[in-house]
C-alpha cells in the first residue's frame, strides 16, 4: 500500500506536468500573448509542487503512524505485563503483528490475540488514512498550481527556486547526520554518567572495565567502568599497526613518486588500491586463519608463548590494511612538492636520496604527518579485525603477545551481547562518544596540517 502510494506520487506529478503544460500552451494561443515562462516551466512548477506535497504527506504520516501505533501497543503490553522488560514486550508485539498478518508467531495467547486485533484495525486505519491524505494532498496541490497558471506567472523562477531550496536541503543532510550522531551519543552518555554520579575520573582513569557486573537498580558500580584497559588495548594495537603501516606505506610512496617509472606505477598502484578495497572482515578472517597461527608457531619455535588471540596479530593485519591508506595519501603530498625544488637540489649535485630526505620530505612533512594522523584515527575506529582477532577480555597488560581488547570491540560486545539493551546502551554509547570525539579531533588536526601544506605549495 505504502509502496503503491510512493509510486503513485511521481505518476501523478508527471500527469500534472503535462496538464499544466497543455493549459499554459492553450492560454498563450488563446490570448495570443507571450507567456512569461515557457509552458514546460509551468509543467515543472506543478510537478515539483505535487511531488513535494505527495511525498511529504506520505513520509510524515507513515513515520508518525508507525511510531504512534508502536508506542500505543507497547504501552498496552507493558501495562499487561509490568514485570517483563522491553525485550519481552517487543517480542509480544512482533508476535501480535505476525498473528494479525496471518504468519507464524512464536506463541499465541489471549494478550497477543487482543493486541493483534487492535493492531489490525489501527494499521488498517493508518493505511487508509495515509492513502486518503496523500491522494487528497496531491489533488489539492495539483488544482492549486493549475489555478495559478496565467500569462504573467513567473513559473520558471518559482520552479528554479524550489529546485535550489531542494538542493540546499540535500546538502544539509550531512549536517543532520552529524547532529543525529552527536545527539544520540550524548543522550546515553549523559545517562551513563548519571548512573556513576559523574565520577568522571573513575571512568577516565579506572583500571577495571566490567560495566555490567555491578549493575544494580539502574546504578552502576563506578569502580568497574575504568576505560584504561580498553585504551591500553586500542593504543597497543594502533601502535603495532602504525609500526607496520608507516614505514611500509611511506617507503612505498617515496619509491613510487621518485624512483619508479610509469610502468611500475601502473602495476603497483592497482595493487595498493586492491589492498584498500578489501573489506575489513576479510582482513579479520586472514588474521584468524593465517597470521595468528603463524605467529603462534613462530613463537613456539623460539619458546615464546603467543596467545591465539593476540594484540600482535590484530595489529599486524590492521597495519597491512592501513598501508595503502598511508601510501596513497603520502604519495599525493610527495607528488605535489614542486619539481622545481627537486631540480634545485639535483642541480647542486645531490643524489635522489639526499634530495628526498633533505628537501622533499621536510617540505611534505605536514602532509605526511596528516596522513599518519588519519591512519591512527582509522586504526582506532577499526572494528572487525579486532573483534575477530584481538580478544574480548579487558586485559591490562603491556605485552602485545597476549589478548587485549579495544574500545570498538567492547561496543560490539555490549550491544550484541545478551544483556538487556537498556543497561548495555549506557556504557556502549559512552565508548562510542569517546571514540567519536577522539577521531574527530584527529581528523581536524589532520585537516589543519594538510591545509598548511596546501597553502605553501598550491
Amino acid at each position: 500500500m505504502i509502496f503503491a502510494l510512493f509510486v503513485f506520487v511521481p505518476v501523478a506529478a508527471i500527469v500534472a506536468f503535462y496538464v499544466s503544460q497543455q493549459h499554459a500552451n492553450a492560454l498563450s494561443s488563446a490570448t495570443g500573448q507571450r507567456l512569461h515562462s515557457r509552458p514546460q516551466h509551468h509543467g515543472m512548477h506543478s510537478m515539483l509542487w505535487v511531488m513535494l506535497a505527495g511525498w511529504g504527506v506520505l513520509l510524515v504520516l507513515t513515520v508518525l503512524g508507525e511510531t504512534l501505533i508502536h508506542r500505543t501497543l507497547i504501552g498496552r503490553v507493558s501495562d499487561a505485563l509490568p514485570d517483563d522488560g522491553p525485550l519481552q514486550w517487543n517480542l509480544v508485539l512482533s508476535d501480535a503483528r505476525s498473528i494479525a498478518q496471518g504468519t507464524v508467531a512464536s506463541s499465541t495467547d489471549m494478550l497477543r490475540e487482543q493486541i493483534a486485533s487492535s493492531f489490525s484495525w489501527m494499521n488498517a486505519t493508518r493505511l487508509w488514512g495515509t492513502a486518503l491524505a496523500t491522494i487528497g494532498a496531491v489533488a489539492a496541490v495539483a488544482w492549486w498550481t493549475y489555478q495559478q497558471i496565467t500569462i504573467e506567472l513567473r513559473a520558471r523562477i518559482y520552479a528554479e527556486n524550489m529546485i535550489r531550496r531542494g538542493l540546499a536541503v540535500m546538502a544539509t543532510v550531512a549536517v543532520l547526520t552529524t547532529i543525529g550522531i552527536v545527539l544520540s551519543l550524548i543522550f546515553e552518555t549523559v545517562r551513563f554518567f548519571d548512573a556513576i554520579d559523574w565520577q568522571l575520573h573513575k571512568f577516565l582513569f579506572g583500571t577495571t572495565w566490567s560495566p555490567l557486573s555491578g549493575v544494580f537498580e539502574g546504578e552502576m558500580d563506578a569502580d568497574k567502568v575504568g576505560i584504561v584497559p580498553l585504551f591500553a588495548g586500542t593504543l597497543m594495537i594502533t601502535l603495532i599497526a602504525m609500526l607496520v603501516a608507516v614505514p611500509i606505506g611511506l617507503f612505498a610512496a617515496i619509491y613510487l613518486s621518485d624512483f619508479a617509472n610509469q610502468r611500475v606505477r601502473a602495476v603497483v598502484k592497482p595493487v595498493m588500491e586492491l589492498l584498500a578495497g578489501i573489506p575489513t572482515v576479510v582482513y579479520g578472517f586472514f588474521a584468524v586463519i593465517t597470521v595468528a597461527p603463524l605467529l603462534r608457531d613462530a613463537g613456539k619455535a623460539i619458546g615464546v608463548p603467543i596467545a591465539s588471540e593476540s594484540a600482535l596479530a590484530a595489529g599486524m593485519v590492521m597495519g597491512i590494511m592501513i598501508i595503502p591508506f598511508i601510501s596513497s595519501l603520502s604519495d599525493d603530498v610527495i607528488n605535489s612538492v614542486p619539481q622545481s625544488l627537486r631540480d634545485g637540489s639535483l642541480s647542486l649535485g645531490a643524489t635522489k636520496a639526499e634530495t628526498i630526505r633533505q628537501v622533499v620530505l621536510p617540505a611534505a612533512l605536514p602532509g605526511i604527518v596528516s596522513a599518519i594522523v588519519l591512519g591512527v584515527s582509522k586504526a582506532i575506529g577499526e572494528t572487525m579485525i579486532v573483534v575477530m582477532a584481538a580478544g574480548q577480555g579487558p586485559n591490562l597488560t603491556g605485552n602485545p603477545l597476549e589478548a587485549m581488547t579495544t574500545v570498538t570491540v567492547q561496543i560490539v560486545a555490549l550491544i550484541t551481547g545478551d544483556i538487556e539493551a537498556k543497561t548495555a546502551a549506557g556504557p556502549a554509547f559512552t565508548l562510542g562518544f569517546t571514540l567519536f570525539v577522539m577521531t574527530l579531533l584527529m581528523n581536524m588536526l589532520a585537516q589543519r596540517l594538510v591545509a598548511r601544506f596546501r597553502e605553501a605549495y598550491d
Binding site: 639535483l346 642541480s347 647542486l348 649535485g349 628537501v359
Partner: protein, 253 residues
C-alpha cells in the same frame, strides 16, 4: 684567450618522438658569458639542461651526440651525474629556495659534498657564497629566517649564492631574471659579470638588451637548430643568417 670549457658535437635531443635539438655543435669558452637566445620553444632550456644532465630526470628524454667538459664526455657511462652537477651548477628561471633557513639553503650543497670539516669552515663558505651572490648585506642579520620569506630578487640571488657555494666551474642560468624587477635584474647582471672571472657562465635570456649587456658570446637557436654562434657584438650588429637578423630586429619569435 680561447680556452674551451664545454664542447658539444652533433647533439640531438628527443622528447619521445619530438626532436627538440637537432645537430647542435658548439664550443663554450672559459671565463666567458655565453648567451643563448631564440624564440620560445626553440630548445634553449633543453640544450642548457643537457650540459649538467638535468634531462636525466625526465623519463621520455633521450640525448645523442657528445658533450665534453674539459675533454671528458659527460654522457659516458662512467660519469656520475651527481659529480657532474657539482661541477656544473644551475640557476633556474623561477627562484626555488628550499623551505629551509637562508643559511641551510646555502650550506646544503657544501654539506652533501663534504666540503667543510667543521662548523666554522661551513660558516665561512656560506658567508663567502652569500657575499659573492651580492646578498650578504641584506641577509647577514637573519640567516636563520626561511629562504622562502625573501623577495623574488633576493630569492634569485640566494639561489645563485647556493649554486656558487659548491664551487662549480660552469654556471648555467635559465632566464635568471625573468621573474625580477629592473633593479634586481641589474644587480643580478652585475653579479654575472663578476662571476665570469671564475666560471664559464651560460645564460638563457629572452632579452636582447640583456644578452648584449652581459655576454661576450651569443648563440642563436631556432626550431632546435643552432643557427648562429659568435661574438656578441657581431651577432647583434652584423648577423650572417637572415633568421638571426629577423629575430633580433623583432620580426620572428
Amino acid at each position: 684567450m680561447t680556452d674551451v670549457k664545454i664542447k658539444a658535437k652533433d647533439v640531438q635531443v628527443y622528447y619521445g618522438d619530438n626532436h627538440a635539438i637537432k645537430d647542435v655543435s658548439v664550443e663554450i669558452e672559459n671565463n666567458t658569458v655565453t648567451a643563448f637566445i631564440g624564440p620560445s620553444g626553440c630548445g634553449k632550456s633543453t640544450f642548457l639542461r643537457c650540459i649538467n644532465r638535468m634531462n636525466d630526470t625526465i623519463d621520455v628524454c633521450r640525448v645523442e651526440g657528445d658533450i665534453l667538459i674539459d675533454g671528458e664526455d659527460i654522457y659516458d657511462k662512467r660519469i656520475d651525474p651527481v659529480q657532474l652537477r657539482a661541477k656544473v651548477g644551475m640557476v633556474f628561471q623561477k627562484p626555488n629556495p628550499f623551505p629551509k633557513s637562508i643559511y641551510d639553503n646555502v650550506a646544503y650543497g657544501p654539506k652533501i659534498h663534504g666540503m667543510s670539516r667543521n662548523k666554522a669552515e661551513l660558516d665561512d663558505i656560506v658567508e663567502r657564497a652569500l657575499r659573492r651572490g651580492a646578498i650578504w648585506d641584506e641577509v647577514k642579520d637573519r640567516l636563520d629566517a626561511p629562504g622562502t620569506g625573501l623577495s623574488g630578487g633576493q630569492q634569485q640571488r640566494l639561489c645563485i649564492a647556493r649554486a656558487i657555494a659548491t664551487e662549480p666551474e660552469v654556471l648555467l642560468m635559465d632566464e635568471p631574471c625573468s621573474a625580477l624587477d629592473p633593479i634586481a635584474t641589474a644587480q643580478v647582471e652585475e653579479l654575472i659579470d663578476e662571476l665570469r672571472q671564475n666560471y664559464a657562465v651560460v645564460i638563457v635570456t629572452h632579452s636582447m638588451q640583456q644578452a648584449a649587456r652581459v655576454s661576450q658570446k651569443t648563440a642563436f637557436f631556432h626550431l632546435g637548430n643552432l643557427v648562429e654562434y659568435g661574438d656578441t657584438p657581431k651577432i647583434f650588429t652584423n648577423p650572417e643568417d637572415s633568421r638571426t637578423e629577423s629575430y633580433i630586429t623583432g620580426r620572428i619569435g
